[in-house]
Amino acid sequence: MPTPALFLSDPRALWLLGLAVPLVAAHLVHRRRVRLTVPCLALLLEGRGPTRGGGLGRRLADHAPLVCRVLALAALALALAGPRPSAPPVPVALVLVVDADVTSAARESDGRTRLAHALELAAAHVRAHVQGPVSVVVAGLVPRVLAQAAADREGLARRLVDPGAPACEPAPGAADLESALVSAWALAGERGLVKLLTARALPASSGPASSGPDPRLEALGTGAADEDQGFVDLRVAGAAEGPQTRVEVSVKNFAPRPATREVVLRVGDLPEERRALTLGAGAEASVTFEVLVPRGGAPAVATLSGPDAFASNDALEAVLAGPLRPSLLAVHAGAGLRPYTQAAIAALGEQIDREVSGAVALADLGSARQRDVTLVDGAALPPEALKPGAWLFLAPLSGTLPFGVGPAVERPIVWRALPGHPLVLDLDLADAWIQRATPLLPGPDVTGLAFAGEDQAILAEGERGGVRWVALGLEPEASDLPMRAAFPLLVRNALLRLARAPAEPLPPFVRAGEILRPRVPLPGGPQARLSWPGRATVDERLSPEVGVRVPAGLHGVLEVRTGTEAAPAYVGRSAVVDLDRTRSIAPLRPPALLPAPRPMPGDPGERWARILVLCAALLLALDLLLTRRLRPGRAPGGSARGQGSAAGPAGVAMSPFRGSIDPWKTESSARP
């Protein structure tokens, strides 16, 4: 069965054709001829004229008004029934993918962002696409469908460029362009077009399948700015010597021309430091700052002074922990610190907090304020003096001790040490000449670090009853020079090891996309509340074994809390940075020109309906014209007479009188 060319969307409107019945009836009633008696029919016969026809044409002319009305009614009924072509043109969907990457925040020469240009371009393409619906996908951190198969092109275009309510904002991080294209192809269907509005490179898989680029995909440039220098890396570490913290930032010049920028570092309330950098086109350089962070830690903010087109990579932040500068209380027997002990403490320099450190005789130990570490310089402690805390014992070991000692050993040889242990790090004691040593007795809470013989630890650490301790059983006095040189290192390592207990679990910063793991178990347990910058607080399990992936696109300070809200066991902070050496605003394609808007073609069904309504109007006008020609009162000076109404129906125009043979003409009158 052949498919009809048209179908009706609302066939019920055809019931209007029933109005044709009263129309025909009214026509017949009005067309009933009035019987009129005339005195002389010959006069009327003359008036009809010789050419007056009375055949089919006359009858058709009589009914022309009725035909006009019925046809007009039929046209109106058809128009209301909504004729639609059976095979309308297949619409071609257009999906616009607007790249809202963080680089879309780049300022163009006119001061507007690259994203604003992209939205303007998108609005122009929305207005120019007349073949079908338009969808808009915003490629941010996650793809977002801004409009799906929108038919109201003008409304969508206005929404895209509405200055009061921006359709989207630049994402804080790298946009997932690939996922956005996947969404776009799903919206486009098999015949749809996808236009990617971006200045960046196309992702590796940009087609609907993984086969590669598709000819239906068109990439349109959205900007031309390329003046950008920014941070691409950050490193925070302790200084090689001393308690300073080393902050190293790397800056890259993304512009195709050399540039000079100044890096400014602010750490807490400390005076800012500046370093000038001159970078070649595409070059990268690092700047290192060494700062003495206050004891409680401080945030460090590095910025690039001066403007460029892309400000998102012009600032960095890190939370610097306070340095390990323990306070030290040296206890001597009463005659003062031994010379080599005094020298070792002096060699510690700024590694200890000298403002609160000091020395005290054993007799005054009970009244002295407790410090981070208590160094016992060969004194014999009374039993009541040993309190929980960090203790460093130097030989000779006597008095009350948290460990047991054996008989002194003369000229021991350190034949074994735990490799890599922080206490003996960088030290080689194998060839050392040691005059005398006090070995520590092994025990379950004693960890030997260096041994002069089996079970004769001359370096050990342990903990008992809250007393954390390190004991140096060797006596430097009368030892050889290397041993003497190693002694301050042993003291320093022991001090730092004993003072490390409140070490900061969180790193100074974490990179977006990395897994955040505390360096040590969090005080208060692994269940922590994480407050990401700009996001809601979430509860996560955080331990050195179990980490949390840092979301992309975050900038700011992460706060981690354990314990209860009222009494937190731990509050730590770390900065979140999102750095990318490949992130550039340099456009890969020139900005696309705005297409001219095109009017939306009318619905073919509406076009049919309009044509039908126009036909109906023309038919009614023709009917009116025919009716008015026969309307009474237009005859010059004439008056109707006879029975019947003068306001009769429309008649057919008669041919004018063309004269007839004059019956009165006689020969005489015809004679000239």
Partner: protein
């Protein structure tokens, strides 16, 4: 008394008289001067006496004064026959019939007031015997009654109606009062009848009763026109063009009829059915067929 003429109209009609142009020889003396010298009472002039003249006509006073015999000559006066041919066909229904009968009554009044003979002839003729000529003022009542009571019917057959006039020897003033409509020959038949009457020696007055409504049709109507006399029908759609055409054709027809009458020596007078009696008589005055008494 009939309502065709009021007393005031009859009083005004008394000041008028018929003035036929033709000499209408009559076999009876009457009050109408014939213009013919002969026996009569109206002195015409003198002429010298000739042998054989009747000595009674010698004017002795002039002979005594001049010494020569002269005789008086006289203009003869004869009787006038007025034949009123009134169209009573169905086409005359309405104001035309009324006007035709009033006009006939007026002419009859003029004739009878001068002791002339009046004869009424209907178109179509009545079935009963033809009406005899009437004379004298007393006959006016009968004339008016006949005019008032005779209904409109039938179709006017001018040829048949005038046939009896062609037979008589007496010449008459024939006043034909009609709309001169004919069914099929576009008005040829009444014209031919008038021509024959005129050719026979009668003085013919064609009093053409006109009514513009004869061709007025309701504009915009689909009309089935029925001929009043023949009953034939014609379907028409009345348009302004048709109306204008009918009016023009009707005017041309009247004009052509008037020209044809004039060329045939027949006095043609337009009588508007919607007008007054005096308008019609004024038309007759302009032709000289009536004048002051």
């Amino acid at each position: 008394m009939s309502g065709l003429l009021t007393f005031e109209e009859r009083a005004r009609l008394a000041r008028l008289a018929l003035r036929p142009r033709r000499r209408l020889p009559s076999d009876a003396p009457g009050g109408w001067r014939t213009g013919r010298i002969g026996h009569g009472v109206l002195f015409a002039d003198h002429r010298p006496y000739a042998l054989g003249d009747d000595p009674r006509y010698v004017d002795w006073h002039v002979a005594a004064r001049l010494g020569d015999l002269v005789v008086k000559r006289f203009e003869s006066e004869e009787d006038l026959d007025l034949v009123l041919c009134v169209d009573r066909s169905l086409s005359m229904q309405g104001p035309k019939a009324r006007m035709a009968r009033r006009l006939a009554a007026a002419l009859g009044h003029l004739a009878l007031d001068h002791l002339d003979r009046v004869r009424l002839s209907w178109w179509p003729a009545l079935e009963r015997a033809r009406g005899a000529p009437r004379r004298g003022p007393g006959a006016l009542v009968a004339l008016l009654e006949a005019l008032d009571r005779t209904p409109e019917e039938g179709s006017a057959r001018a040829g048949a109606a005038t046939a009896e006039l062609l037979d008589g020897r007496r010449k008459a003033l024939v006043a034909v009062i009609s709309d001169f409509h004919s069914e099929s020959d576009a008005g040829q038949e009444p014209l031919a009848a008038l021509r024959r009457l005129s050719a026979r020696g009668h003085e013919v007055l064609a009093l053409h009763v006109l009514d513009a409504h004869d061709v007025e049709l309701p504009l915009g109507a689909a009309v089935r026109a029925v001929d009043a006399e023949s009953g034939l029908t014609l379907d028409l759609d009345v348009t302004p063009e048709l109306q204008q055409t009918l009016r023009t054709g009707w005017s041309r027809r009247v004009e052509a009829f008037a020209r044809a009458c004039t060329s045939a020596g027949i006095a043609h007078v337009r009588v508007e059915a919607g007008g007054t009696l005096w308008d019609a008589l004024r038309g007759l005055l302009s032709t000289g067929r009536i004048g002051r008494a």
